[in-house]
């Protein structure tokens, strides 16, 4: 018995090795974590507990409880001007990650090319490969503050692709894009008839301008799948709950894959999410303001210590240039000598070379201590 070729062609995650190194050490201050350091808001946890007490442990509708889809529809319309029909255009998924996988499996034919803006979250490339597609890397660049541009798409030959994947606010760079900046991406997508998968899981964490979804730009709704969820904004990573927004035909196709694999997203998490949407805006705002305070601290300390970093404006990451050419080697030595973990940029694909992903989803005291140690290490 041996694994299928399409699985074997995907190498293990570059983060895995680093995780193992960090696990071997005691007393690590980790700036390598891709999830909030807060627990989910109490009201959401309480709703989950109550639903368990009441014995709500059965499946829900494949697309998720209608009450939740309606709440999602209201939420995305109020916050991002996204108008989607809860009956036909929303599918509740087990985390945004499932939504991403569904989009690939529902939309990619064997041999299709999927252009992926990089550096990026680690799931896109394997997701495309598992679906039988081919990946075309579109590197974003430091000089563009890691924003995706018409030129970058053109230079990479993305016009030949069938689909484009982008994620803003971005993991791992912390870059965001304004509506104006996104409009040249939209123009490219329209010109080359690209389907767009827009991962907006960090939409609530844009610190210097309002988040714009590319799906709201002219001619984009009909060609865009939006993925979002509760993991980052509501600090509900372990509850595994996300959703996709797509035109009816595409939502139906994604739901077909979903109903035969997941059947429905976790019921307890759906109950928590309904409560999160109805009563946790203040908790989200409080977390956002704490991330923002840490972001400003991080950026100013990087500047003081001469670590070149573009102004990260979203998610909870900064992406400074590594003082040494080999980011992997640097990160290993940093961990070894100071006990501070950061993730080398190349773990996130093309364009990540020579950079480090530094997460500020860490309490401010630990963050200060880690920054002191980094400063001592590089000087």
């Amino acid at each position: 018995m041996k694994p299928a070729d399409r699985v074997q062609q995907v190498p293990p995650s570059g983060i895995r090795r680093f995780f193992e190194l960090a696990e071997q050490r005691d007393e690590v201050i980790s700036l390598g974590v891709g999830e909030p350091d807060f627990p989910a808001p109490w009201a959401a946890r309480d709703a989950a507990i109550t639903s368990l007490e009441r014995g709500r442990t059965s499946y829900t509708a494949n697309r998720g409880r209608l009450e939740l889809r309606e709440a999602i529809a209201t939420h995305v319309e109020d916050n991002y001007d996204l108008a989607y029909d809860p009956e036909a255009e929303i599918v509740v998924t087990a985390g945004a990650s499932e939504g991403i996988d569904l989009a690939f499996r529902a939309l990619v034919n064997p041999g299709d090319t999927v252009a992926v803006a990089q550096p990026c979250y680690v799931s896109y490339v394997p997701g495309v490969l598992f679906a039988g597609g081919e990946v075309l890397s579109v590197p974003t660049r430091r000089r563009d503050a890691f924003k995706l541009t018409y030129d970058a798409l053109d230079a990479a030959g993305a016009g030949e692709a069938e689909m484009l994947v982008l994620c803003y606010p971005n993991n791992p760079t912390g870059a965001t894009m304004t509506g104006d900046e996104l409009s040249e991406v939209a123009e490219f997508a329209r010109e080359h008839d690209l389907t767009v998968l827009s991962d907006e899981i960090y939409a609530a964490l844009s610190y210097e301008h309002e988040h714009t979804s590319i799906a709201t730009l002219p001619g984009m709704r009909e060609r865009t799948v939006v993925c979002n969820g509760f993991s980052k904004a509501y600090a509900m990573t372990g509850l595994r709950l996300g959703y996709v927004l797509a035109p009816p035909e595409i939502a139906t196709a994604m739901n077909r894959v979903h109903q035969y694999t997941l059947l429905s997203a976790p019921t307890t998490a759906q109950e928590a999410a309904i409560e999160a949407l109805s009563s946790c805006d203040d908790a989200v705002a409080e977390m956002r303001s704490r991330y923002d305070r840490r972001r400003k601290l991080l950026l100013s300390r990087f500047e003081e210590m001469g670590l070149d970093c573009f102004r990260a404006t979203g998610a909870f990451y900064a992406f400074p240039e590594c003082p040494r050419e080999d980011a992997g080697e640097f990160a290993e030595e940093l961990l070894d000598e100071t006990g501070v973990a950061v993730v080398p940029g190349p773990a996130f694909g093309d364009g990540g070379e020579g950079h480090l992903r530094v997460s500020y989803a860490t309490g401010i005291d630990d963050l200060k201590e880690a920054l002191d140690r980094i400063e001592a290490f590089i000087s």
Binding site: F19, G32, V33, D37
Partner: protein, 117 residues
């Protein structure tokens, strides 16, 4: 608005003051009312708060000091001798979970993976 004060989670500091909630019973006479007694008690520096309350005792007084000895001495030397005070019951505060509407979070263990995507 009579002033602002920081809400401090003293437990997080090395030098944690000792606090006690003290129940006071008093007897009144023609010359002395609750206000007179309260006025006298409120002047003492260690008294952090003082309320006239309904129920089994008359005043609820919060006292803060550097040690249990200091608080105890204050109660026995300054409070108990007040002629109208007939009884004191001192409750030392053992832990504070919430104050002035602000919850004091316990340190929750960070059980996240040390590195994740």
């Amino acid at each position: 608005m009579r002033g602002y004060r920081a809400v401090v989670d003293w437990h997080r500091l090395d030098e944690e003051p000792v606090r006690a909630e003290i129940e006071l019973n008093v007897t009144l006479d023609h010359e002395t009312g609750y206000d007179d007694i309260a006025e006298r008690l409120a002047r003492f520096d260690p008294v952090e708060s003082l309320h006239l309350v309904s129920g089994e005792y008359d005043f609820m007084m919060e006292v803060e000091g550097e040690s249990m000895r200091e608080v105890s001495t204050f109660v026995s030397d300054k409070v108990a001798p007040v002629p109208e005070i007939t009884q004191t019951v001192t409750h030392y505060v053992m832990a504070t979970y919430k104050e002035q509407g602000i919850e004091f979070e316990s340190d929750h263990d960070d059980d996240r993976l040390s590195v994740s995507p």
